[in-house]
Symmetry: D2
Subunit: 480 residues, 4 copies
């Protein structure tokens, strides 16, 4: 038997291929929409992909099940659990087969037993894996967003991201019971979860790709609570703000994502077109590193460096009903970005621009310079009442410790809450280590404000210098 | 002033960018349809592309003028010379400006003077280049398919490729007169032609990218003829067969090529889809090296290795009204191939397959093996009447020397003339050095014949061994 | 805690990095000698490598512990178990610390407990991993060549590869007892072995990168035997021939591998230098795909395609006391090859040649052509007594089934046993799927024989066609 | 005939390959020390390199003639002109052949006639090219540093770079006479010079790769002067400061550069090693883009971004008797940098560091932040006497126009003249467009000063805003 894990660093998302060399066939679990890597891996192992499945209707990325099904002709196995609100809209596609708890997906010696494991979502299923050529015992399970390494899937996404009121507590109770049932599997069961560290689908996912049921039973917090109520309270506490685009993902994945087929590299354009787009208010992501962009930012662009969190922040800021545009180093990077954007359903990239547009822009319009500030200076100027510090981290990070006097506006909500930030003094953006505050600074300029300062060292540097820290929910500006 | 040459090895096609650092603007001459390199180069030099032009309605590739105009917003300068049959169909596009002999295209200190230089085609123009910041003298000229290094543009394409009878002699005379007029420019004029060695637009193009008018006057054959009649005879003799797709190119370029915009990487598919396509008679190019393909060829595919002549042979064999398919090493190669195909207007690539399909195919259907043969063996078996040797080189190559007893069928016409090849004995394909004979061998199998042999060393090896050579037009099978 | 697995496809070798984000430090286990990937991964996770260790004195590749120690300044933890014959020669290096059963290696919350697990080798240790921030229970263990997925480390290498008589049965008994002790760990323990499918360090390693102790106890053959004797017999049966270079590796790793420091790309040379080297009998690996090489092989070169098994076969055929040379596609491939060769201690690559040398060679000397043969033809000609088929697979593969009448010479011993192969008829090389037979064919030519034939489909195709199969040790030619 | 031009963007240096398809041989002129591209190009054209030559003893890069001779076995043709001071030290190498005016180098139909063209240097030769298969007339000439496009080679390098007093005027006169003799060649002669725009070997080299003798005669300033004296004065005026390493290059090239053979990628090291090197005062080039480095600079490193001028500035700042170190993005970039450094003889690269060292450094030591300043602010603060502006451009740039009140210290002399810069106020670095001032700012910090400011827009932005400009040699700080 062959088990291969695929990991999308930008989404912190894991998918898997299980294959049987005997039958020459493979099944892919929770595929991303960019399917070439599965085809490549299958080819390398001498396998054909004949089955595709997914653990649940994902909220954090566009499912690749339909894409991979269309590309390979494989059968798509979808959950038939959950109530009417959780039925797949493309269940009648000819190559879809619905599965329920206890059903099996087989190829050669590989057997996947479907188990209904609701909580994160009502229709969530897990797949218990048997290698029939080796043993009658199960080897492991693909648990999607049910059990993570050291954590469990959050049951509040539905309410927080999709705004379906009153579901999160119910989900937490259902999850508790799913866990109670699942622990009956033997301790030796290897667990392959659907996310690693950094996903917004759980709060404290570890840096280990794999765990075992026995180890989770002994060390995972979710298995150590005093009882259901205790579990419910703990699982709902301190979850990060779900990105706004999660609601969108949920809908797309339920209805059935459009088939991409080909991957397109948009045309490169020159500066005059950029000017036109800026004037028209288009969404333009400048993918340069933060330091470079700070030294010369084109006002109106959003600086989302092409790093680990590119996909997430692009999802927060992209309109899903109009094209976006990229400022990038070269065509190769654009292609990679187009693929990353497609994983969260941003399928319209209208054009791209090379780095030369920065200098070209300066010939006729001003660039903005984001000044860099260090911890001690930030503190002193804040204390002297000279600046306003805006902390753009998440709520739980802010609560655990922040600069006294700083204002809290999570980056994702900056545009919505910009009015509540006082503009009488220079504004200093700050996060944990400079990533989000840089994005925030460019967004602040796009919103029509003068260039702010960026406290790049962020709370990490601040704390390391032993400066005064405040805890609690502090000063969040009042929402309109 | 900046002059930059771009060279497409697969088309042996040159294009140029001329820019003025002062004005920050650049003009591109004879662009390929893949326009990113021009934008990249302009950006690197701090220039914007504001003008695009072309020397004539090309027959050997799809003009990128319209694409580059659409991408950059540049003005497109098109020839208004030639009679009604040679007027551009998109001359009314808002960014098109028609030019005639004596007109000028300027930016900053760069001045291009349009000269009507018909012969290769009736509307052909050349551009004489002045750097006004340096001198009143012209520096050089972009001569397109008018004057090459050591040769001149062939005036017979129209008749031979586009089947417009009676035009080639007339064209030759017109060309003669264009040359007579052009030699009035000073000897020091540098000439930048539109093609290098290997193009089907001229018969003996050299490996030097540039020449000067004075040198051509003294050494180019076209300037040494005894007079017009002499010139006409010589220029029409020995021209290679123009690819069939040339007629198609001519039409597209005249009407106005469709705008590509984005470049698309088609989806990868698995073996079952390949089988289906094979059964449906689709055109599938196997891009593997000839040696690899010979060791295990999927019958029905055409082995066109992804080397220098890929574009040309793809043009010969692709249907222009249906998608083609690729067998390729990886996505990067596919992207490069998609771009190469777009340069000659093959815009529909339906899907691609990885190399694994060869082994997969063998599980249910036979592969064909093309046996390799060496010179002496080929000769002996031919002499013994055991094999039929098919020489797939061009007519002039064959005439200059071939294996006595070999049959001549130029590769491009193999499918058309396959019936005339005797099938009572094993067929051996042969060309100059193994490239074309390999393609021919795979095509032979696609036509339903048993796997032939390939004399890979070809005429080069045969000749090197001092074996008997015959000249003249020899045994060409009778056309239907 | 962070756990990251590194996998060298060519060696089927796994190494691991375990890090603690809290302390910012990481430990690497069983590193390859090409250390950049560890530094890159540590940097990406914000970790510094401060510890390096290895499970045992490897026989199949050169340990990277000393290299990584030298590069990073990390402490190197080496086993102090085993008798005097198994003591590391560089134990007195200032950054080496010896460890014994029960010792601990710690950084931040990461704790590795050393367990002596002899059998594969006497000094073999495993590392039981604890994440102290999460649990008092162990999460998993790095088992090196002790326990694999579905198999255990072979205890016969010492005797078979290093020629130390009488050790393999003793090793098997020791291994049995190591296993008996190790099963006392909880079922939930995740096991990360040092090899995956395709390694010569175990006979049937699976395609799953990870297992659990509980699963192995229930399904691994080694835990199901009737008792020690039964185990001993089974573990010693059917092990593949260890490559000759294994003895060399063992010695290097024990004494302490030389530090590479920089990685060097050798100079490219032209054909005349190749000729000189051929005449001098140098070892030249032609890295082209087998099909390409078969169509035109330079006699005297060994065709070892740059694929999965490149490293292994290079190890078999490289002299360890003279430089080797490469025929390669380009500098990038050469760099990759140089790295791959360094992993098994082939540190002298004298020069490389581009593919053009094949055509250049042909201008003055003959190329060899390896004819391709198919199953039915091979069988018929063998039955007719026209050819000699040489099966170059391993002994156990041959015993399980071979073509009746074929001669058995494992590829690695072809040069040694070439005299015993009858040369009165054309020789046909055959393996399972064409990889080894291609190498064998080129080696056969290098040994001064006329070009043989290659039955490329191999035993896989033969068997698939339902042709007659014989089992047993059959006709192996008598050794000199 | 085949003529191929190779261009090293970082050195603005051109080299050439001339080959004859008939003989299958090629000659390379003025090769760089990184020779793989010549071998690759020769292979692609089916040629072997059998001759290597150079126009003169270069001062701006290490000649690759000896390297290419060693790699290919080709004959090296060296100038035997010039007096005893200009004789090659390796003229007795077995594969060296000395040539004088009128000698010929031939292969097949290619003939290169050696012409002595002193001035830039006394032994300088040019090569007049004939294609004997085409004409008795010469096609062109490889003019090295004799005639450029629109300029001529500077005759002052010897005096200014190598400090050989009294040679520059003499050189200018010799050059004048070389030009007078050379114009006797026909106008149509194509000229291929050894440098393009941006080289320090001439003052105003254009962006056109090629010119003709007739065009230069009519438009080049050097051919339009009123007489010898006039020429001498003009050619010596306004030449840029030659880099200090030029003297070193001259010596190496005369004596014979050491053979590189292999190209080595140095090992990657971790932060503690960087700390140690910083403390030891080692030369460490941080290759990040200027904006990134400005936002967090490791004091003690020199920020030389890996862009066009990397090689030149590395040459200015590298000690030629100790290793240098690199901070780089990845191994691929390091390899490219190692090659670029080798072209100017920086052969010892001790180690490299990834970008993670910046964050790691910050954990225990401070980073420096280089503040960015814009034109109007710079002007206002200068006028208010709040800052000192240091203009690090070349003397002629400064003289043509500078900010009134700015101090002039060419970047290359910053370390030498740092004492003369007042340190009582914040220092602002400024150049033309931000490249050199960024390097200067990092060097300033390395010299032990507090982080300066960087006026990134530079004189280009200043001038564009219509601010007051002063001309003349202005305030240069007095040298010690």
């Amino acid at each position: 038997m062959i088990v291969k894990r695929f990991y999308d660093e930008r989404l912190a998302q894991a998918s898997f291929m299980v294959g049987c060399p005997g039958s020459g066939e493979a099944i892919v679990i929770d595929p991303s929409r960019i399917v070439e890597p599965y085809l490549e891996a299958a080819a390398a192992e001498g396998l054909r992909i004949t089955g595709v499945t997914e653990t649940h209707i994902h909220a954090d990325y566009v499912s690749g099940s339909r894409e991979l099904g269309a590309t390979t002709g494989a059968t798509i196995y979808l959950s038939d659990e959950g109530d009417a609100d959780w039925k797949y809209g493309y269940a009648n596609d000819p190559n879809v087969r619905l599965v329920k708890d206890g059903d099996e997906i087989r190829t050669g010696a590989v057997r996947l037993v479907v188990r209904h494991t609701p909580g994160h979502t009502p229709e969530h299923i897990s797949f218990v894996l048997y290698d029939e050529s080796a043993s009658e015992e199960p080897l492991g399970a693909f648990t999607g967003d049910f059990i993570f390494v050291g954590d469990v899937g959050r049951p509040d996404l539905l309410e927080r991201a999709a705004n379906i009121k009153g579901t999160m507590e119910k989900g937490a109770r259902v999850l508790y019971n799913s866990l109670r049932k699942f622990v009956e599997y033997p301790d030796h069961l290897i667990l392959w979860p659907g996310h690693g560290a950094g996903s917004a689908c759980g709060k404290s996912l570890g840096g280990v790709p794999v765990t075992s049921l026995g180890y989770e039973k002994r060390s995972g917090w979710a298995f150590q609570t005093a009882g259901e109520q205790d579990f419910v309270e703990e699982v709902l506490a301190g979850q990060p703000e779900p990105p706004k685009y999660f609601a969108h993902m949920k809908r797309i994945n339920k209805e059935g994502p459009p088939i991409l087929g080909a991957i397109s590299i948009p045309p490169r354009k020159q500066t005059d077109e950029l000017m036109r787009l800026l004037d028209a208010g288009a969404t333009i992501f400048d993918m340069r590193p933060a330091g470079e962009a700070a030294a010369g930012l084109i006002p109106g662009t959003i600086n989302v460096p092409f790093e680990k969190s590119f996909t997430t922040w692009a999802g927060w800021f992209a309109p899903y009903d109009a094209p976006i545009y990229l400022i990038s180093e070269n065509e190769t990077e654009v292609l990679e970005a187009v693929k990353a954007l497609a994983t969260i359903g941003i399928d319209q990239v209208g054009a791209w621009f090379g780095h030369e547009v920065v200098d070209e822009h300066q010939k006729s319009r001003d660039l903005a310079t984001i000044g860099q500030m260090q911890a001690r200076e930030a503190k002193e100027r804040l204390d002297a009442g000279e600046v306003t510090i805006v902390d753009v981290r998440g709520a739980s990070e802010y609560e655990e410790g922040h600069i006294p006097g700083s204002i809290h506006v999570p980056l994702g909500y900056l545009a919505d809450r910009a009015d509540s930030i006082p503009k009488d003094k220079p504004v200093v953006f700050q996060c944990y280590a400079g990533g989000r505050s840089s994005i925030g600074a460019s967004l602040w300029v796009k919103l029509g404000n003068p260039p702010p300062l960026n406290f790049v060292g962020g709370f990490e540097e601040y704390e390391a210098q032993g400066l005064e820290v405040e805890t609690g929910s502090g000063k969040e500006p009042v929402h309109a």
